[in-house]
């Protein structure tokens, strides 16, 4: 299975268009504003996360920082933004050394972070202008008095330099997600930001919203800000960034101008492996029908959904964010209860009222929100993996510790979970390894059907191909897989049958090798409102 990132369907991401624009842009860059992180080392509990990393980003560039999960990029950025402190190493802007001891320090020195959760940083009852100027108002050395007129003027200025237009008197609680993000960016600009870190900023956004965000990112760059851009989505990285730096195993392994490299080369550097390994599709015998879903409905989010899953089959359900995939996965596994329709597993009718009912019947969920729903971050790998198996591991109600740790060791090797031991708490694992724990707990249960909701979200490419290998093993054992995702290339890579979900309904069905990414994209964004030619 080959997969070229240049063949991405959305033309707006096309590298050429973005580059032309970039050439014409005015630069206010100056070497005095360049960011230097020199010889940064950091270890946690004796495990080195960063080995003497030196990272340089110039003023007036969008610098993409890439790497598999656990490569050290978030650790490096957390050191920059003051959440962690480096063991060794120093940070400069131009020739000025910075002493960053806390996130507040970092902000004072002009280093800002843009988080996905915009709501935590904004006050919903205040106006857009007041939110933009909030940091300013909060500072102790400012005057006691707040002039609404000056607030408006300065907020206006910040808005304009971003090229954004929201009424300044609008209250933030009435803003859309994208507008809130604009407010946040304007606020960062109003604070004379020198470095702005965008950590996976497009994950919760629709396509247009993402485009608008990139527009603002470019505006910031043109004002001479160092823009650091972290993303797992290579098409947008290639379309938007000026320079790419790649980390692996706590070191920087590659850095070059974006137009001097290719997606294939980037993936090779991230993985240290070749690109072809991305979708190892295992051959499996497809058998009898396992799960039959007939017209299940709940509210507007899932409407009249029917499909079936056979033994050894991977059924892909694709759709854009908000199409109702997560809601469907919750109905299938009893997290929510469906209002109409029916389900049967192995021919036996199933009306799960609670996840426990679904689990007992043999249908299990690997949820999208891994840290909140998939794993117990405070608990060890061992305790996480044994949760659904406690009954089998217990004698007279008491858990047999030896069997439990045996199982965990076995699962750790089988899934190649990177950790110091099975007693390690899950919160110290990288996203990909947490995902392996989240799916690993089901592997020894007698489950027949696995419902996987966005299993590769926030997972690096190395762990991704491990996930595909695990899924391949499952279908070889005759399990059925429901694979819900918004990554079109993934379903094309591994699914035997593909359904397109649009606005709560399944609108199209395809066999393997019968459909292209462009077609899927088309139906996922147009529903039944057209025919692909």
């Amino acid at each position: 299975m080959t997969n070229s990132f240049d063949a991405q369907p959305d033309n707006a991401f096309s590298a050429n268009a973005a580059r032309t624009e970039r050439g014409a842009a005015l630069r206010a860059s100056s070497p005095d504003d360049n960011l230097y992180m020199l010889g940064i080392s950091k270890s946690f509990n004796g495990v080195a996360a960063l080995h003497s990393v030196s990272f340089t980003a110039s003023s007036g560039e969008i610098h993409a920082l890439l790497g598999a999960n656990g490569a050290g990029k978030s650790t490096l950025m957390k050191i920059l933004s003051g959440a962690y402190r480096a063991d060794v190493g120093n940070i400069h802007i131009g020739s000025r050394p910075l002493h960053i001891k806390s996130p507040a320090d970092a902000k004072r020195q002009g280093i800002h972070c843009v988080y996905q959760e915009v709501d935590t940083a904004l006050v919903p009852q205040l106006t857009v202008a007041e939110n933009i100027m909030m940091d300013r108002m909060g500072q102790a050395n400012r005057s006691w008095w707040v002039s609404p007129r000056r607030i408006r003027q300065e907020a206006e200025k910040a808005m304009q330099s971003l090229g954004a237009a929201i009424p300044l008197t609008k209250r933030v609680e009435q803003c859309t997600l994208a507008e809130k993000q604009m407010v946040l960016l304007a606020r960062i600009l109003a604070e004379q930001a020198k470095v702005v870190i965008f950590d996976e900023p497009t994950a919760p956004l629709s396509h247009e919203e993402a485009m608008r965000l990139f527009q603002m990112m470019r505006s910031m760059r043109d004002l001479g800000v160092v823009v650091i851009f972290i993303s797992h989505r290579l098409p947008e990285v290639f379309a938007e960034s000026d320079r790419i730096t790649i980390m692996r195993d706590g070191q920087i392994v590659h850095s070059s101008q974006t137009d001097e490299t290719t997606p294939e080369e980037v993936v090779r550097h991230m993985l240290g492996k070749t690109f072809e390994e991305e979708f190892p599709k295992e051959q499996a015998v497809i058998g009898d029908v396992l799960l039959q879903v007939q017209g299940i409905t709940r509210g507007r989010k899932v409407r009249d959904v029917s499909f079936d899953v056979r033994q050894g089959e991977i059924v892909g359900i694709v759709g854009v964010v908000g199409a109702g995939k997560t809601e469907l996965s919750r109905l299938l596994t009893g997290v929510d209860v469906y209002e109409r329709g029916s389900m049967s597993l192995n021919g036996v009718p199933l009306i799960p009222k609670e996840p426990a009912d679904a689990v007992r019947a043999g249908i299990v969920l690997v949820p999208e929100e891994r840290r909140k729903q998939g794993v117990f971050v405070q608990e060890s790998i061992q305790h996480n993996i044994s949760v659904p198996l406690l009954k089998a591991l217990s004698l007279l109600g008491f858990v047999r510790k030896r069997n439990e740790s045996c199982l965990a060791e076995q699962m750790r090797d089988r899934l190649t979970i990177k950790s110091s031991s099975v007693k390690q708490e899950v919160k110290y694992l990288s996203g990909g390894n947490q995902q392996k724990v989240s799916i690993g707990k089901w592997l020894e249960t007698p489950a027949h059907v696995y419902v996987l909701d966005e299993p590769t979200k926030g997972v690096d490419i190395g762990a991704k191909s491990d996930m595909f290998r695990i899924i391949g093993k499952l279908v070889q054992q005759g399990k059925g897989i429901v694979y819900l995702t918004c990554e079109f290339n993934e379903v094309i890579g591994i699914a035997d049958r593909i359904y397109v979900m649009y606005d709560g309904e399944l609108v199209q069905a395809f066999q393997r090798n019968e459909v292209t990414q462009e077609q899927l994209m088309f139906y996922a964004s147009a529903g039944q409102g057209g025919e692909w030619k």
Partner: protein, 337 residues
């Protein structure tokens, strides 16, 4: 380097702080009070903490499932007078005298669980309301009078019964093991502490309780019936308080009004002191036991130093806030670091 030392000092405080404070307090009282370290007094301390420990075990269980049970104090009050009245007013057989209060505790736990688990009212508010309801019931039941042997009613008649000698053994009796003898309530307490500890540490149910409290959503998706687990936790909490009430009645030999109200505070303090015993950082029974030892020693010592009883709340409150400070400060640092 400086911060490293500070971190280690904090961690040390978190791990051994509570133990060091207990040893320090015992040493202080032993030096100041000649009779403090006598075997009679130590047995007395253990006897008095047995009630608090049972109540605190209940609070621990509710905290483990990420809940809170404020109603335990009132439950002790109610079960104490119910126990006494069953003997003094109704002269019921011993079995009933013991079973009915346990059922009362279980019912209160069920009521809490219904409002918290089914109707999703926040635990603190639910149990606060239930605490007042139960307190009201126990005063209404006794019309505000203490229930004592052959008590006189308002209409001049006398209650027929007395507290049974066999029942009083529960609070005052001793079991002798060759050279030394152990008071029965202390023995019951030790059995409960060890039993519940083993249950929480090693049983499937205990594991499911910690999982439910740690991440309710993940626990549910993993197939744990969290509503059942939480309901059982509240019922057990009510029953632990009921056992506390039984022992209280047996120790005092009457059904005192408002017997349990100071116990809520002591139990909560004991549980939170327990967070920082050996650096557990979460509710645990061994910690809770050490917590009630600390509270018991303090109350006993302060009484012997002739501090008025009404000043005790100041001391107990201070212990609670210090325990909370250590626990939450260290947990917060661990989360952010």
């Amino acid at each position: 380097m400086n911060t490293g030392f500070k971190d280690r000092l904090l961690n040390f405080c978190f791990r051994y702080g509570a133990i060091i404070v207990i040893i320090g307090v015992v040493a202080f009282f032993s030096v100041r009070l000649p009779y403090f370290f006598s075997s009679a007094n130590l047995a007395d301390i253990l006897r008095s903490i047995s009630i608090v420990t049972f109540v605190a075990i209940g609070v621990t269980l509710s905290l483990i499932v990420d809940g809170f049970d404020l109603s335990v104090g009132s439950t002790v009050s109610l079960t104490t007078v119910v126990t006494a009245s069953l003997m003094i007013w109704y002269e019921m057989p011993l079995v009933i005298v013991i079973i009915v209060p346990l059922l009362v505790g279980a019912v209160i736990g069920c009521i809490n669980a219904f409002f918290i688990v089914k109707l999703r009212i926040p635990d603190l508010l639910t149990t606060l309301a239930v605490m007042y309801i139960v307190a009201g019931i126990h005063k209404t039941y006794t019309k505000g009078y203490t229930v004592y042997n052959n008590m006189q009613f308002e209409d001049g008649t006398k209650a027929p019964g007395k507290m049974y000698e066999s029942f009083l053994q529960l609070g005052k009796g001793e079991v002798s093991f060759g050279f030394f003898s152990v008071p029965i309530p202390v023995l019951l307490m030790l059995i409960a502490v060890i039993g519940v500890h083993v249950m929480l540490k090693h049983s499937r149910f205990g594991r499911q309780m910690y999982m439910t409290g740690g991440n309710e959503e993940a626990a549910r998706l993993s197939g744990i019936r969290i509503n059942r687990i939480r309901t059982i936790a509240y019922i057990l909490s009510g029953m632990c308080a009921a056992i506390g009430g039984l022992i209280y009645a047996a120790r005092v030999g009457s059904g005192q009004i408002d017997a349990g109200s100071p116990l809520l505070m002591e139990a909560v303090a004991a549980v939170f002191v327990g967070f920082s015993v050996f650096g557990a950082g979460k509710p645990n029974i061994i910690g809770t036991f050490f917590g009630s030892v600390l509270i018991g020693v303090l109350v006993n010592g302060l009484t012997m130093m002739n501090l008025q009883y009404y000043t005790h709340d100041i001391v107990k409150g201070t212990v609670l806030i210090l325990a909370l400070a250590v626990t939450f400060y260290v947990i917060h640092r661990a989360r952010t670091a």
